[in-house]
Symmetry: D2
Subunit: 260 residues, 4 copies
C-alpha cells in the first residue's frame, strides 16, 4: 500500500461528557487515548482521524469512509440511535475492503451484529474484578510484541461466555475473570473483502485503554485489518459466455428465462 | 431426541405453476420430490410437512416453526416479497436451534443473507453445462453413503466463485463446471444454537432433485442440521454475583451505572 | 450404520495398579468407569470393549482395530513406551475413518501428537483447584443434554494455555481454573476420514470420570466421532485419462516421465 | 521487524540437472526464477538465499535456519532421501516461528506431511491441460494485487481432490482443471508459532514459475508467513504456584506424584 494507513477512530463520546468518573479517566475522550496510542506505536505508517456520534452523519460521511482504510468502533449507550443509513454505508464499505476493529461494548453495535448474523449477546458483570488475558495463538500478527503468555488488567468489567457470535475464523485471546467466567476476548472474521477484529478489554470506567498491552494489541489489529488490494465483486454477475467450451446438448427454453 | 425429526420443506412454488417447462420436471412441485426423497431415505426417523410462499404467513406460523426441527428452503423469484416479520421469526428460531438447509437459489434469500452477514452473491450462467461435484471432506456425515470421490450432473446451472459468504465452518463439496468455473457447493456454518447448511446443486429447469446423489446429500444434511438439546441464551445477562470470590478493591460508582 | 457402534476403550492402566490413592477412586481401572458410563448413557447403541497397555500389542491388534469404530485413549506414564508400530496402525485406522476421543493426559500421547503435527504441550499444576467448564458452542452435538452454560469440577488438575495444537476445527468448551488459567478443553479436528476429539477434564487422582457432565460429554463425543460411510483414498492416484476432454496442444516428453 | 525479511529458497535441484526439457525452462534452476521474482516484487524488504538437496545438510544447517524467517520448499524426486534429522530441525524451527511456503510437489515432502498429520496424497495427471485458478477469499493478503477473479495457466499438471490434508485454516484459491478436477490450490495453516502456506501451481516441465500471477502469490505468501514477534513455548511447564489464590481444600498425595 502506498502512503500511510488511513485510520478513523469512531467514539460514541457520550459517557466522557456526561459522567465525571469517566472524564477523570479519559478527559479528552476514549478516542484521544486511542489516537495517541496509534501514533506512538505506529508512527508515520498511519494517519489518524476521529469521528463521533454527535457529529453530522456521526462523522461518517461517504467522503470520510472512502478515505478510511481501517475503522475502530467504540459505542455503548447510543447503539440504537446510530442511523441505519450510516450503518448500511459502513457495512458496504467493510465488504469492499475497509477493516473494522470493534472494541468492548461494540459487540452490541448495529454494525457488528449485522456482520455477524447473530445476537452477539453475552454475560457481564461490573465488579472491578481482575481479568487475565491469555494468548492462544502465538503465530498471529495481532499478538506480535507481547512479552508473556498472558497479561493482567487489574480492574475490568467481566464479559463472559456463551458469547453468541459465529465461530471466529481466528481466535487469538481468551480472558480469565476473577469471578469465574471465561471469554473469547480476541477474535477475527472475514466478511466480503473486509477483515473484522473484535477485542473485548476496554471500558469507560476503568483505565484499560491506558494499558500498554491493550494498546499494542489494538495497534496490531489496525495493521492486520488493513485492506488487501485485490478484486471484490459482491454482486451477482451473469456470465452467458463460458470461459471454456461447452458441448452443445440441451436447449434451454428462452421464453422461460425471459419470464423470470 | 425422542420421536422423529420434524422437517418442514419450504418451497416458493411459483415457477412450477407458471412455467410448463418446470412443471414437466416437477409436476407436483419441487417440494414433492424432496418430500418423497426424505421419506424414502430417512423413513420413520423423519416426519415431513410442506409450506409454500402463497400460504398465509408463507406457511410458517409460530406454531409450525415451533414444531419444526429442520427447515429446508428453496426460493428464487419471490425473495424480496417474503415478509420481513416471517424472516425474523425464522431467524430467531434458527438461533434457538432449528436447522436450516438452504438449497440452490436460496443463497439470495433474505433469511440466508441475514445469517451470513454478507451479500451472498456469485457468478452464474444457465447453459445446461455439466457439473461435477467433488467431495473434499470424506469424514463429514453429510457425504455418508456416497460411492465415489465425485458425481456428475449432466445439465446444471453454473454457480461460480467468488461466492460472497463468510468462510464456511466446514466445506464438504466443491463443484467443477464445464464452462470453466468452480464453486464451494457444500458448506456449513453455526449460528447461535442452529446449524446452517448450503448445498447448491438443484435448479427448476433441470431434473437435479431427481438425482440420487443429490437426494442423499440433502437427506444427510437434514439429519446433520438436527438441533442439539443443550442450553442457549442469546441475550445479555447481567450476573452481579460472581461465581468465585472477588477481592474487594474498587468501589464502582453506583450513580454512574444508574445513569446508563 | 447397521448394528451398534463398536467402541474400544484404551486405558494405560498402570497408575491404578501402582498407587493406592488412584485405586481408591478407580478400583477396577479408569476404563471400568468409562465403560459403565457409555453403557448407561448409550445402551444398546454401543458395544464396548477394553484394551490396555500391558496386553500383547497393547490390546490393539489389527483385528481389534478393524472391529473398532471409535477408540478412546487414556495414557500418561507410559506414552514413550507405546510401540511405534501400534501407533502407526492406529494412525492409519483413524485416517481411514475410526474416531479417536483423546482424554486428558492423552494430549502428550504419540498418536495424538502425530495427528496434530505440533508438540501438544501445555501449562499444568496439580493443586486440586476448581475447574469450571464453559460451553462455547451450544449448537454442537457433543454438548447435547447439558443443563447449564457451565459446570464445575471441584478438584481438578490445571491444564492451561498456550496449548500447542493446531487451531481446532471446532471448539466446544473452554475451562476456567481457580488458580488463574484458561484452557481450550473441548476441541475437534478432522484427519483423513477420521474425526478426532480432545476433552481435557479427567485425572487419575481426582474422581472426575464419575462426574455426570463429564460422562455425558464423553458419550456424546463417542457418538460424534462415529465413522461416516463414504469413500476415502489417502494415497496418490494417477489418472491418465481425463474425465472431460482436453484440447490437444502440448506433447509431454515421455522419456522425462519415465525417468522420474 | 527490523531489517529485511530473510528468505531461504530450498530447491531439490535434481530435475533441472538431469533433464534437458526441464533445463530448457529453468536453466539456472527453479530457485533462480523464484529468487529473481522475490527480488523484483519485494525489493529491499527481503534478503534471499538458496539451499539445495546436494549441499551438505541439504544447505539447511542450524546456522542457516536460525537466520531464516521464511523458507520456501520445492522438492519432488528425492523426498524420501531428505535426512530425517534435517527434517526435525526444520520442523522445530517452524514451530518456533519460521514460515514455510510449500510449493507444488512439496505436498508429499516429509516436512509438510509431518506438519499436517495426514497423508497429503491427491489425484494427479500430467497432460498439459489448462488450469484456471479462482480466488475464493478476496480479503486475504496473499491475493493482494491480483487483477481479476481468476487467472489461467495454459499448460499445467493436474492436482485434484480429494487432497488429504486437514481442513485449511484459510482457503484462498481453488483450481479448475480442463480435464475435470478441482483442487484447493491455495491454503494456510498455523502450527505452533509458525505459519504454513501451500500453493500448488508450479511444475518442472511447464514454465509456471515464470507466470506473473504465480510469482505475485508466492511473493505475498512469503510476506504473509513472516514470523510474529511474540512468545512461544511449545513445551510442558509445571506452574506449582497459582497466579490467583486457591482455597485450601485437598491434600494431594506427594508420594504419588514423586512416583510418576
Amino acid at each position: 500500500m502506498a502512503g500511510p494507513l488511513r485510520v478513523t477512530i469512531w467514539n460514541e463520546y457520550l459517557h466522557e461528557i456526561e459522567h465525571e468518573a469517566v472524564r477523570a479517566l479519559y478527559p479528552d475522550g476514549i478516542h484521544a487515548v486511542l489516537e495517541a496510542a496509534l501514533e506512538k506505536l505506529l508512527g508515520d505508517s498511519v494517519q489518524v482521524r476521529v469521528a463521533t456520534f454527535e457529529q453530522p452523519e456521526h462523522g461518517l460521511s461517504y467522503e470520510v469512509l472512502s478515505e478510511t482504510d481501517v475503522l475502530t468502533w467504540w459505542g455503548h449507550a447510543a447503539h440504537e440511535r446510530v442511523d441505519d443509513e450510516v450503518v448500511t454505508r459502513v457495512y458496504n464499505r467493510i465488504l469492499n475492503g475497509m477493516g473494522l476493529v470493534a472494541l468492548h461494548s461494540a459487540h452490541a453495535s448495529k454494525i457488528f451484529r449485522r456482520l455477524m448474523g447473530t445476537t452477539c449477546m453475552l454475560r457481564w458483570r461490573e465488579a472491578a474484578e481482575k481479568e487475565r488475558v491469555w494468548i492462544v495463538d502465538p503465530s498471529h500478527p495481532i499478538v506480535d510484541g507481547l512479552k508473556d503468555e498472558h497479561f493482567e488488567i487489574e480492574h475490568s468489567e467481566m464479559y463472559g461466555e456463551h458469547f453468541d457470535v459465529p465461530p471466529p475464523d481466528e481466535l487469538f485471546a481468551i480472558s480469565w475473570f476473577e469471578g469465574g467466567e471465561v471469554f473469547r476476548s480476541g477474535c477475527t472474521w472475514r466478511r466480503g473483502k473486509g477483515k473484522v477484529v473484535y477485542f473485548s478489554p476496554g471500558h469507560e470506567t476503568f483505565p484499560i485503554y491506558h494499558n500498554e498491552n491493550v494498546q499494542r494489541i489494538i495497534a496490531n489489529a489496525v495493521r492486520f485489518a488493513a485492506p488487501s488490494g485485490g478484486l471484490y465483486l459482491g454482486k451477482g454477475r451473469n456470465i452467458p459466455q463460458p470461459l471454456s467450451p461447452i458441448a452443445a446438448k440441451h436447449v434451454v427454453d428462452e421464453r422461460l428465462h425471459k419470464a423470470k
